[in-house]
Symmetry: C2
Subunit: 203 residues, 2 copies
Amino acid sequence: MDALTEVQQQLYDWLIDYIRQNQHSPSIRQMMRAMGLRSPAPIQSRLEHLRNKGYIDWTEGKARTIRILKPMGIPILGAIAAGSVVEAFTDSVEQLDFSSSLLRPGDYALRVRGDSMIDALIDNGDVVIMRPVQDPQALKNGTIVAARVNGDGTTLKYYHRKGNQVTLKPANRNYKPIETPAMEVEVQGVLVGMWRGYNPVAS
Amino acid sequence: MDALTEVQQQLYDWLIDYIRQNQHSPSIRQMMRAMGLRSPAPIQSRLEHLRNKGYIDWTEGKARTIRILKPMGIPILGAIAAGSVVEAFTDSVEQLDFSSSLLRPGDYALRVRGDSMIDALIDNGDVVIMRPVQDPQALKNGTIVAARVNGDGTTLKYYHRKGNQVTLKPANRNYKPIETPAMEVEVQGVLVGMWRGYNPVAS
DNA sequence: GACTTTATGGTACAAATGTTCTGTGAGAAG
DNA sequence: CTTCTCACAGAACATTTGTACCATAAAGTC
């Protein structure tokens, strides 16, 4: 990714902020005013530079169609020590992207009920993000899947297959694995992510 | 939230899909063509209905400025049993929202290093989403915070305060709590969420 | 100095676009 | 039946808006 000049960076930062707040891109004359300019031409020029450098894109001739190509999300500022006190904030620019790369169309979420996956650090109340499987044959052993056995109900388990025998293992010693023919198992999705929300105002 | 007529629902669904894919709202004539109409007036009418019912909003007179008011995200299809096989998919319409309500401007993420929060089900490599604290005095005991002690480094710990004494407790018996005067503790954020990504193609 | 890139101001134009108005018709509610 | 709401077509208009062109100037590069 090419570097930006100062004014290009200013416009780019403002653009991202505007789109985040308003859910749509501004018009060129809006950017003109925001940058303190009195002509649309400089904005046009900066936008073309931003496009040439791969930061943005838009549909030519159409109003307010600028797209941010770099993933949007919240910045991962650095690493935090959960062991001993070691690391401080850095100026890392890694981004946690919720919009495009992590989630795909078709993904869905499930709220976890129960504690059978507790050893996999998935708790009751957590939200798991699942992705439908196109090719059940390509499923790797050890992946966590949402599977329905015998039309009964959907459970979250480790998936293990040996020949035509499938074992669904919970991550909790108090529960027993389910062993059944592959025919009986309908894999509804593989685990791609997990979200746990905290309420900061709790006592 | 008021109910929608069939054509209104169609337009609304198409709108959400379009905005999700293109990062900007379509024009009225685009919607017209997508709905198979030959006049912009019906779209105008449907949009006003959607606005009156609280689903969308836009800036009058400006092109492509429609905003979706209902949170966007991926649908939470239901609950999944992690204990025993109990629940099936439902037609729940709850949404896991990554764009507006869960995350706020100013939020940032940190990648967790170490295992001191393992008993809180936060693992090495997880990404925690933190929110800056406006009023450190209002911090409740028991919340998980990113705190810097004595200018040393930032750690993720449970926050407990008693008078002017602050205790930062790890969620791992192998580590000891840090006890220090409140003066020495700089709380950089409270935990509002946690994300763990899985790679479905792993063996 | 000559040349290129970038930044800026000003103006102009065609296309895109939101909006309004008129008229017609279907269906539900009273 | 009357009334109301909603849906659709067609046309027209004013504004917004992307784009192009011309000219000036500052800064860096050769």
